[in-house]
């Protein structure tokens, strides 16, 4: 990039231009201000040749263009540029420092062990972050070292924080024991299916059982004489009933996050944010910031995430349908794959100001058996009836 000078000339312009030709001065542009005054744009190297032109001319340097112009700006605002470059370097440096390590596990002993191991690899608070390749190597070596304690481990970078997730290896220490269990009912209901794998089933399909009744017994009798005690195993399915009360709002407001998100630099003065880019409605999450509490000035990087507000008003019927759907969903979450809702009926439905209230009767096909340990001596004292009560 060359440097160009803008020079104002006063005098006989035509004669001056002819002399420029004679002294081989290239004029890139000529701007006529009056018949005796022009501003010419010349190469920086040609400026000295102007002084060779004899005559009554006045030369005034009025401006610079090109490389020299930028040099002059940098020279004039050198402190500002230095501060900006220093801030940028400092910001980049800060964004590469670990400020926190968060381990997502409840096992404190293992957490301490992993923290110590990470610090051996120089992953600690206020130390520099590692590259992805280094992290992968560290993860692999920790996995190898603690293969008896850890099933899986991952270190994720989240801003200036490292999040460590791991799955603890569960060692199966269960020992064979002589403990005997029976299967008892945990709810009232009518028996619909019985699958006995071990033990003696005391019920028939269609029988009514109450909570606590024995469903599959561990004791095997022959002619009223106890022959053996086994660990009762099996599944008993019954129709059970629930009375559910669902309250659903008539006015529905939801804040929904879209997939639009961006990491942008910002400047905050007082309570006002100045940023290059904004969504119409968004939430901000601070990633890095440098602030001075005295001057109320803050600079940093934040993540903005676009949100959409859904504001709906339902009629009573719409709200009722939604309430039933919600109730079904909530019940189904609690049920296993082999369990289901058999029937449901609305007992009562009324609106109360900004909400509706639905009283629903639901009958569900579900497993009601639970294992209960048989205490020693208990089996000899027990009396049985055919309906299990």
């Amino acid at each position: 990039m060359n440097s160009y000078l803008l020079v104002r000339i006063n005098g006989n312009i035509d004669r001056f231009l002819l002399k420029c030709k004679k002294y081989k001065i290239n004029i890139i542009n000529i701007k006529y201000e009056s018949f005796k005054q022009i501003v010419i744009c010349i190469n920086e190297n040609d400026y000295e040749k102007l002084s060779n032109i004899r005559g009554v001319y006045k030369f005034n340097l009025v401006g610079v263009k090109g490389k020299r112009k930028y040099f002059n700006i940098i020279k004039k605002y050198n402190m500002l540029f230095l501060m900006f470059i220093f801030s940028l370097i400092f910001l980049i440096f800060l964004s590469n420092v670990i400020f926190d390590i968060d381990i997502k596990s409840d096992n404190n002993e293992l957490n301490k062990l992993i923290l110590k191991e990470l610090s051996n690899y120089n992953i600690d608070k206020y130390k520099l972050k590692k590259s992805n390749d280094e992290l992968t190597k560290i993860i692999n070596s920790i996995k190898k070292k603690y293969k008896d304690n850890i099933e899986w481990i991952n270190i994720k970078e989240d801003g200036v924080k490292y999040i460590v997730n791991f799955v603890e290896r569960k060692v199966n220490n269960k020992k064979e024991s002589n403990e005997v269990y029976k299967i008892v009912s945990k709810k009232n209901g009518i028996i619909r299916n019985i699958y006995t794998y071990n033990g003696i089933s005391l019920l028939n399909i269609g029988d009514y059982v109450s909570k606590g009744d024995i469903l599959i017994d561990s004791d095997i009798y022959l002619n009223d004489e106890l022959k053996n005690s086994v660990d009762a195993k099996g599944k008993v399915y019954a129709e059970v009933w629930y009375k559910v009360k669902v309250i659903y709002p008539l006015n529905y407001k939801e804040k929904k996050y879209t997939n639009n998100r961006r990491k942008i630099p910002y400047i905050k003065i007082g309570k006002n944010y100045f940023e290059l880019f904004k969504f119409k409605k968004f939430e901000r999450k601070n990633i890095i910031n440098i602030k001075n509490n005295l001057s109320l000035f803050e600079i940093g990087i934040e993540e903005i995430r676009e949100i959409r507000i859904i504001d709906k008003k339902y009629t009573n019927k719409e709200a009722y349908n939604k309430a039933i759907k919600l109730m079904n969903k909530k019940i189904k979450i609690k049920l296993n794959e082999d369990e289901k809702i058999i029937n449901e009926k609305t007992l009562n439905f009324y609106s109360n100001g900004s909400k509706i209230i639905v009283d629903e009767f639901v009958s569900v096909y579900e497993e009601i058996g639970e294992r209960k340990k048989v205490e020693k001596g208990e089996e000899n004292d027990r009396e049985y009836t055919q309906d299990g009560s």
């Binding site: 231009l17 002819l18 290239n26 004029i27 000529i30």
Partner: protein, 79 residues
Amino acid sequence: MKLFDNIRGYIKEDEFKIIIFDNKINIINYKDIKELSDNKIVIMTDKYIYIEGKNLRLMKLFSNELLISGDLNNIKINE
């Protein structure tokens, strides 16, 4: 040999040219300016070129190229 001359001319561009636009005249590969005024500019190549008009002004001045603006009336070429 004419082919070589054509190629050399294309690369070196040492031929004299006048390109006339609406209110501008571009002159390439001239030798000298003999006269310069508001109404008349005389350019020297192998021949003399007289440019006549009103408010004739030089906009660019290079050792081999000129750009003249103004209301052009007449161009004459003399041996």
